[in-house]
């Protein structure tokens, strides 16, 4: 019973909160640029509108293009549900592993990249090729960072990592975890197609990565892909919030109100991280594609330095 309740809560939190960070990032950018910007909840409206529209598909496409939005949505939602919105009601048998988390997201990306190639357009191929390249480049940084976090907790299971981080109190005060945090922020920027790796607001096909892959999707297909992308971002932000900012200010409040307050705290953490991403996005420009490897290398070195602490003899 508790398990079912927990999963329902997880899925509901993911579905409801996922579009929020994107709205927040856009708002931050707009404010920095002295624009009023779209309302915070604009993406919710967009998604609802798109869901009601029928899709236009190219006559060159196959089942891949039509299946991909559903796979992307389902895998992103699964990954998002794997990251606890609150650890208050964690069931005893919690399946969830950090390595699995990233590979579930990779499954969605596999189909997204394939669907980009389906219409036989050079834009789609361009986006797919770049996405495949970028994701491969940040993979080592991600995995080594994950090992570093896992070494602290002596496990890669998500609840194990979370309890270890909660025990630490403020993980960011640990130098090695601070480095890994920075590496993960870079991974997040690359994985969620944000500036400086990709520009989600671009209208020029030649510079697109994510947008080029979904160029041929419309209506409800696009809605699912956008929702999937939002869920993926939510999942990665939740990872950062859970692992690096585990502080629960309402730990003393028991019962249902406590859970609700913890959820509010979680949402605030998400918003704080979105602010960070928005600030990066407002302050930097998109990198030249062939400079992305440098960014990936920086992320890898940060992760690697994070692990090094564990290799120093006599620690």
């Amino acid at each position: 019973m508790k398990t079912i309740l927990y999963w329902l809560l997880q899925v509901a939190a993911a579905l409801l909160l996922a579009p929020l960070p994107i709205g927040a990032i856009r708002k931050v950018k707009a404010l920095v640029q002295k624009r009023k910007g779209a309302p915070l909840l604009q993406l919710y409206r967009d998604l609802l509108k798109l869901l009601r529209k029928s899709a236009v598909v190219s006559d060159a496409t196959s089942w891949v293009l039509r299946a991909a939005p559903f796979v992307v949505f389902a895998t992103s939602l699964f990954a998002a549900a794997m990251m606890p919105a609150t650890v208050r009601v964690l069931p005893d048998a919690f399946p969830g592993d950090l390595i699995l988390f990233f590979f579930v997201l990779a499954l969605g990306r596999f189909f997204l990249v394939l669907s980009g190639m389906d219409a036989g357009s050079s834009f789609g191929g361009m986006g797919s090729a770049r996405e495949a390249m970028i994701s491969a480049l940040v993979e080592p940084a991600m995995l080594v960072g994950l090992f570093a976090v896992g070494l602290f907790a002596k496990t890669t299971s998500i609840p194990g990592v979370l309890s270890a981080m909660t025990a630490l109190g403020f993980p960011l005060l640990q130098p090695s975890l601070l480095l890994v945090f920075l590496a993960f922020v870079l991974v997040l920027l690359a994985e969620t197609s944000r500036i400086p790796v990709d520009d989600p607001a671009t209208h020029l096909e030649l510079t697109m990565v994510h947008e080029a892959m979904v160029l041929e999707d419309s209506g409800r297909h696009l809605a699912l892909l956008e929702y999937g992308a939002a869920l993926k971002q939510y999942a990665l932000l939740a990872l950062l919030a859970d692992v690096f900012l585990p502080y629960d200010p309402f730990a003393a409040v028991p019962g249902v109100p406590g859970v609700l307050l913890a959820l509010v705290a979680f949402a605030v953490k998400l918003l704080f991280l979105s602010l960070l991403v928005g600030a990066v996005e407002a302050a930097t420009v998109k990198l030249r594609f062939f400079s992305v490897p440098n960014l990936a290398a920086i992320a890898f070195i940060l992760s690697f330095l994070g692990v090094l602490q564990f290799l120093i003899p006599g620690r």
């Binding site: 869901l51 009601r52 029928s54 899709a55 598909v57 190219s58 006559d59 060159a60 196959s62 039509r66 559903f70 949505f73 389902a74 939602l77 699964f78 399946p95 969830g96 592993d97 390595i99 699995l100 590979f103 990779a106 499954l107 596999f110 990249v113 394939l114 980009g116 190639m117 389906d118 036989g120 357009s121 050079s122 191929g125 797919s128 090729a129 770049r130 495949a132 390249m133 491969a136 480049l137 993979e139 080592p140 991600m142 995995l143 080594v144 090992f147 002596k154 496990t155 890669t156 299971s157 998500i158 194990g160 160029l215 041929e216 809605a223 699912l224 890898f300 690697f304 290799l311 003899p313």
Partner: protein, 682 residues
């Protein structure tokens, strides 16, 4: 009871393979019938073999001597022994052979009448038999004989389409490399014999450290050549694609695993607890192999060569896993070694399944379009829907995507690395971190490689008329590929079943059962295997698959509920309003991996050539662009070596082998005198 049954089963299986060869030759008047009959016999042999190995692994007697014939030739025993390790590899062989033989029934049919098909079938069946003997040889000399038969038969299969010069060249490179490999194996086996006085395979105790090193290095090079370990891999990307697709599937799927078997049999069983540096050497070799293989696979446009390079990558993963197991064993952590070995053996089986399926699917595409070049394909998902689906499934498994089997074994490998890192207190930990990073990069690049194969080959618009007129593969080809993909999915969903099968071989090698890793049939939890109080991640594939599937269906229902009926309007691809989009504007295979080639140009050293014709610089009438990349191993290692050997032979010819009769008579005299002196003294 069980003993008699399984023993008989292996006998029947081997006899059926032999009869497949005989049948093919007997019916050579009627090639089509010979083809069907021979492959039917092989399939029957595979079914019996699979059943016998499974029975042996689950309830068998452990070690079973099938035959032990001492002939008149000294030091040669025809000793056939099945133990748990042999049975595990025989199981992989049988499953793959069943599917590949089924595939061959229709795949080889077009060759009938044009070529000596019955001879090919006979060689194929004997090749399968020889691999079975390699896995069961209980005597080192007999092992070497089976090994050589396997190598030579596969050479004939590689050069089967000998009218193409590149195939002959590929065969020659293969033959030379494999001969060198056998020389090293011989060195290892003779060193063992010199120290133990027996050719029987088993634990060889009491070797001096120097002898152990010699034996290890000899087997590492000898088996490394067969497996395609970098830098001994140069033959593999030529030979594997040159053979017909069914033989490629067997070579990549199971023949490279004979090397893994050999390392386990001769080094791990033979020499016992490995020396400390062996594991480190294997780990580093494995990582270099994995990264080299995958980076070449990614930039390759020839479908079969792409798959061959991907085989090198997977060999790298296997060698890495072996290295982790060796390191764990020499550090006295048998539980951890069990996890690493289970991951390695599981991955070996998985690779046989998905690489087999990939080679078979690509072979069907090759027959349907008469090209292996990705640049000439496209749009096959509509012309060959079933083949496309099974290629997508096999690619998902090969890219280590959950819930397929490739991910299960990769996850176990990562967990083994993670635990090694946790338990390691010395600077060796650095190696594990780099290993994890390299494996992650290799995995992501493998995914990119298969995305390229699928995206360029199957999706989009057909780039040539041949691709536009492709026909779906015949039913046997679809069934065989589908079976392999189904195995990939089932093994991925219930890895506990695989671990149950693996339990006894791993127990025999490390003295520690890996079955504690599996939580029932549902999932994996390596924490039970850790020697220190280490919790671990868990992975339950059924939950992942069920969860994702449930969300998928829920999304379908929700979209239907909110948006109403599924209306889809068909329209052209977005063309920026120019209305002149055609198949040549699609992203090409070369373009797909071009950015990688540019980023890693220090590795590929591509040479470019751009030829434009016409008066206008910026609007030429025609334009040709070629990129060539030479493997640094070939250029800097093998070419000088070949030149050196050639020069040496020339020198020998001009100084020793002059053709002068008097000189030869003098040689004989000196040899006789030398012999006499030796015998008198000794």
């Amino acid at each position: 009871m069980a003993l008699a049954q399984t023993g008989l089963g292996f006998w029947i299986s081997f006899s059926l393979y032999l009869s497949a060869a005989v049948l093919a030759l007997l019916l050579s008047r009627c090639p089509r019938a010979a083809n069907v009959a021979s492959h039917a016999a092989s399939m029957a042999g595979a079914v019996v073999g699979a059943a016998a190995s499974l029975l042996h692994l689950l309830a068998g007697p452990g070690r079973l001597v099938l035959a032990d014939l001492v002939g008149t030739v000294p030091q040669l025993e025809l000793k056939v022994v099945v133990d748990d390790l042999s049975a595990y590899f025989l199981l992989a062989l049988s499953v793959l052979v069943f599917c590949v033989s089924l595939y061959s029934v229709s795949y080889l049919a077009p060759y009938a009448g044009k070529r000596n098909l019955p001879l090919f079938d006979a060689l194929y069946a004997l090749f399968v038999l020889s691999m079975g003997l390699v896995f069961t040889a209980g005597h080192a000399v007999f092992f070497l004989i089976a090994w050589e038969i396997m190598s030579v038969l596969s050479y004939f299969l590689v050069v089967f389409e000998s009218e193409r010069e590149e195939n002959v060249r590929a065969g020659t490179i293969y033959l030379v490399m494999t001969a060198v490999g056998t020389a090293f194996l011989l060195t290892g086996i003779l060193t063992l014999y010199a120290n133990t006085g027996t050719f029987d395979l088993g634990a060889a105790a009491g070797l001096s450290p120097g002898a152990r090193t010699v034996v290890f290095l000899s087997f590492l090079v000898g088996f490394g050549i067969k497996a395609g370990v970098v830098p001994l891999h140069v033959w593999l990307p030529y030979a594997h694609p040159a053979a017909p697709a069914n033989v490629s599937a067997l070579m990549s799927g199971i023949m490279v695993k004979t090397a893994l078997y050999g390392m386990l049999r001769f080094v791990l069983v033979g020499l016992g607890v490995p020396d400390g540096w062996w594991g480190g050497a294997l780990l580093i070799l494995g990582l270099v192999t994995a990264l080299t293989g995958v980076s070449h696979a990614y930039v390759e446009s020839d479908m079969k060569r792409l798959l061959a390079y991907s085989t090198i990558e997977n060999v790298g993963i296997l060698v890495t896993g072996l290295g982790v197991a060796f390191l764990a064993l020499s550090a006295g952590r048998p539980a951890l070694a069990s996890l690493a070995l289970a991951a390695t053996l599981f991955h070996a089986f998985n690779h046989a399944m998905f690489k087999g399926a990939l080679f078979l699917g690509v072979g069907s595409v090759h027959h349907a379009t008469h090209t292996r070049n990705l640049e000439d394909l496209g749009g096959l998902v509509r012309r060959m829907p079933a083949t496309a689906v099974l290629l997508v499934g096999a690619a998902l498994a090969a890219s280590a995507m959950p819930p397929f089997n490739g991910f299960a074994s990769e996850w176990m490998t990562f967990q083994a690395l993670f635990q090694s890192l946790l338990l390691e207190k010395s600077g060796l930990g650095l190696l594990y971190v780099l290993a994890a990073a390299a494996l992650a990069l290799a995995g992501a690049l493998a995914a990119a490689t298969f995305l390229k194969l699928l995206g360029v080959g199957l999706l989009g618009r057909p780039r040539t008329p041949a691709a536009a007129e492709a026909h779906e593969a015949p039913l046997p080809e679809r069934i065989s590929g589908g079976l392999l993909v189904a195995f990939c999915l089932v093994l991925g969903l219930v890895p506990g079943a695989a671990l149950r099968v693996l339990e006894r071989p791993v127990l025999g090698l490390t003295g520690f059962s890996p079955s504690a890793v599996s939580t029932g049939w549902l999932g994996l939890d390596p924490s039970a295997l850790s020697t220190s109080p280490v919790a671990s991640g868990t992975y339950s594939p059924l939950l992942v698959a069920g969860g994702v599937a449930a969300f998928l269906l829920a999304a379908l229902a929700a979209v239907r509920l909110i948006g109403g009926r599924f209306l889809v309007r068909r329209y052209g691809t977005w063309d920026c309003g120019f209305e002149t989009i055609d198949a040549r504007m699609q992203y090409s295979a070369m373009g797909f991996s071009k950015s990688f080639q540019i980023i890693f140009r220090f590795l590929f050293r591509p040479t470019r050539e751009r030829r434009a014709e016409g008066e206008h610089l910026y609007h030429p009438d025609s334009i040709a662009y070629t990129v060539k990349s030479v493997s640094p191993f070939e250029k800097f290692l093998y070419e000088p070596l070949v030149a050196f050997v050639n020069a040496l032979s020339q020198k020998a010819k001009s100084t020793i082998q002059t053709g002068s009769l008097r000189r030869y008579l003098a040689y004989i005299l000196f040899a006789l005198l030398g012999g006499l002196v030796y015998f008198l003294v000794a």
